[in-house]
């Protein structure tokens, strides 16, 4: 869509480019900061003024994935030589590896809960949005508003009822509990977004498919879904980002088996002094899945909504 009858002048383009670059720099700054901190030594990470150039080390990453015990210098010297690179890094800090940390598990919990709730949300959301878009649903507008209104509530307002409910149902600190909770929270947004996308798909395509010998469900799968792919992809990204980053409910309702990474990462600080590089390393790794997911679906995000094969 173009709002101007003429192409932008070179000066306008130059200015727009500068504005975008500036905005990108501002938003990327904290991200670059975190990534850099992950590779700093603890001393460098709290140096003032902040160090732009530093000796990179994997200490933060090793500390993130291990639990360690401090031992005496003399005992350390008596040990057989370290046989792996991470052993060596730990010993340089005057410590030995006691075992793996829980970060791996917590990260996997985030993956299971984040992607699980996103998938469930897409299945339910697409079905509900299709029904709202195509069928005459009694009290449609009221229902849609009700669905949206669940989103208006601050999570903290329902935290206690949900906590009690989860305890009574035995859903506390379970994967399925968190998947259901995040699905419930995200469903309102996905129904609304997806309904918009499905509304854009002319109903004539389904009618043509019905006449071409398909049932409504087959027409939905073969004709509506491929055309709604753009909408489903972008909605999925929104849902995943929410479930991935969610902190309040995760702190409240998970503590062990189903604890996700966001409530776990801050606890790293306390393990052995203020270990900012380990925290930064945890945050950096935590960024990767959402970035990969977004990049994979980038094609759908950029592609415009299909139009043109139906004469308007």
């Amino acid at each position: 869509m173009s709002f101007s009858v003429t192409d932008p002048t070179p000066r306008t383009k130059w200015f727009a480019g500068l504005a975008v670059a500036l905005y990108a720099l501002i938003t990327l700054m904290p991200l670059l900061w975190i990534i850099a901190t992950g590779f700093k030594s603890p001393a460098d990470s709290i140096a003032y003024p902040p160090k732009m150039v530093f000796q990179p080390t994997l200490e933060g990453y090793v500390n993130l994935f291990t639990t360690r015990t401090r031992i005496k210098e003399a005992d350390l010297a008596n040990l057989p030589p370290a046989d792996t690179w991470y052993d060596r890094i730990v010993r340089e800090q005057g410590q030995i590896i006691a075992g793996p940390s829980r970060y791996g598990e917590r990260f996997m919990n985030s993956v299971i809960i984040g992607f699980g709730s996103t998938a469930l949300c897409m299945i339910l959301g697409t079905a509900a949005a299709y029904a709202f878009s195509r069928f005459r649903v009694p009290l449609k507008d009221d229902l849609l508003f009700f669905i949206l209104s669940t989103r208006m509530m601050p999570p903290i307002a329902v935290a206690i009822p949900i906590f009690l409910m989860f305890r009574n149902l035995g859903l506390n600190d379970t994967h399925i509990g968190m998947i259901l909770l995040y699905t419930a929270v995200n469903l309102s947004l996905s129904v609304w977004l997806l309904k918009g996308f499905i509304d854009e798909i002319p109903v004539e395509y389904e009618e043509a498919a019905l006449i071409d010998g398909y049932t409504r469900f087959q027409a939905f799968c073969k004709v509506v879904l491929p055309q709604a792919a753009t909408g489903i992809a972008s909605t999925a990204i929104f849902c995943l980002i929410f479930a991935w980053n969610e902190y309040a409910f995760a702190v409240l309702l998970t503590s062990g088996t189903a604890q996700t990474a966001p409530p776990f990462i801050p606890t790293i600080i306390g393990v052995g002094g203020k270990d900012w590089p380990a925290v930064a390393a945890g945050a950096t790794i935590f960024l990767v899945p959402v970035m990969v997911f977004t990049i994979l679906l980038r094609k759908h995000l950029l592609r415009g909504i299909t139009f043109g094969a139906v004469r308007k």
């Binding site: 004539e204 009618e207 055309q227 139906v310």
Partner: protein, 331 residues
């Protein structure tokens, strides 16, 4: 290849009466054209037969079977939509294959390839088969959408203004092609248009719809020569029939309020004086725009006439139609 029967079919959309007690029999193997202006109920009729909408009243049967409880797929109809409705995520070839691959037909691949090739040939879209459906011009899209119906061999073809966005030459070609496909296959075809040339050249029967009512159903010739009303008479004929006050000429029956004159019902050279206002030379014919006591009349004359604006021509009716005050024909 089936007879389609509508009995007292009615359909409303909210307060709008789209179809009002329409009774019509589309004979097996006939080519029926539904004529009428926008909003007359032509498309609604097709959608009811296809099963995309359900009638409020009346019965529809295809091949002597009541289709009330049947889904569109079960009715075995093919439809060409006015808006093309090509699947935008598929190529032209996939669009044409789509009905053949349906769970109802499950056509073997070799048969699909043969059918698609054959139809693409007829519609002159062979070179576009591997294009995306969205990368076609309007005319090409319309041809693909006709093709999607032709690959099948349904009980009834339903076509909603399938030639409306084609250029004149292609339209003429496809008129002939559609007619011969229908004649050769013996298929029953219901066709909606407001192009009267399509109606006259292709139809075995024409149905005239007026605000949801079927006002006349018959052969194109019957409709042209024996219209039941002013409305039906105005559907066919180029230039249009002239509708004038009956009293303009002598000899009208008592009840007559209006007289209808097609060009061939206007005898030139005797009768009343009329003024030539405009002469339109179309090549094979010349149209005269006349003025008879402030009533405009359009008629046809000798292609090489010497008449010029300002001349006087004498005219009188010859076997005209008379209509009463409601517009109904007086026999």
């Amino acid at each position: 290849m089936a007879e389609v029967k509508l009995e007292q079919v009615g359909k409303s959309f909210g307060a709008t009466r789209a179809l009002d007690s329409v009774t019509m029999t589309v004979p097996d193997g006939s080519f029926v054209v539904l004529l009428g202006p926008t909003g007359a109920g032509k498309t609604t009729t097709l959608r009811l037969i296809a099963g995309l909408d359900l009638p409020d009243a009346g019965r529809i049967s295809i091949a002597a079977q009541d289709v009330a409880g049947l889904s569109p797929a079960q009715r075995d109809v093919a439809m060409v939509f006015q808006q093309y409705s090509l699947y935008p995520h598929l190529s032209v070839r996939q669009n044409l294959e789509f009905p053949l691959k349906s769970p109802i037909l499950r056509t073997p691949p070799a048969e699909i390839a043969r059918k698609v090739g054959e139809v693409a040939e007829i519609l002159q879209i062979t070179h576009k088969l591997d294009n995306k459906a969205t990368a076609l011009s309007g005319g090409e899209m319309q041809r693909v959408s006709i093709g999607r119906a032709l690959v099948r061999n349904p009980a009834v073809y339903l076509m909603d203004e399938p030639l409306s966005s084609l250029d004149a030459k292609l339209r003429a070609d496809l008129r002939v092609e559609l007619k011969s496909i229908q004649a050769n296959s013996g298929a029953t075809l219901l066709y909606v248009t407001h192009d009267q040339i399509e109606a006259m050249t292709m139809a075995t029967h024409v149905g005239v719809l007026d605000q949801g009512r079927l006002v006349q159903f018959g052969t194109p010739r019957d409709l042209y020569e024996n219209p039941v009303s002013v409305y039906a008479a105005s559907r066919l004929g180029q230039p249009r029939i002239n509708i004038l006050p009956a009293a303009l000429f002598g000899g009208a029956p008592d009840r007559a309020a209006q007289i209808g004159l097609r060009p061939e019902q206007i005898r030139q050279g005797e009768g009343e004086n009329s003024l030539v206002e405009r002469v339109e030379r179309l090549g094979d014919q010349t149209r005269l725009h006349l003025n008879l006591r402030d009533h405009p009349i359009v008629t046809v004359t000798n292609a090489h006439t010497d008449l010029r604006p300002g001349d006087i021509v004498k005219i009188r009716p010859q076997n005209p139609f008379y209509f009463d005050a409601t517009g109904a024909r007086i026999p």
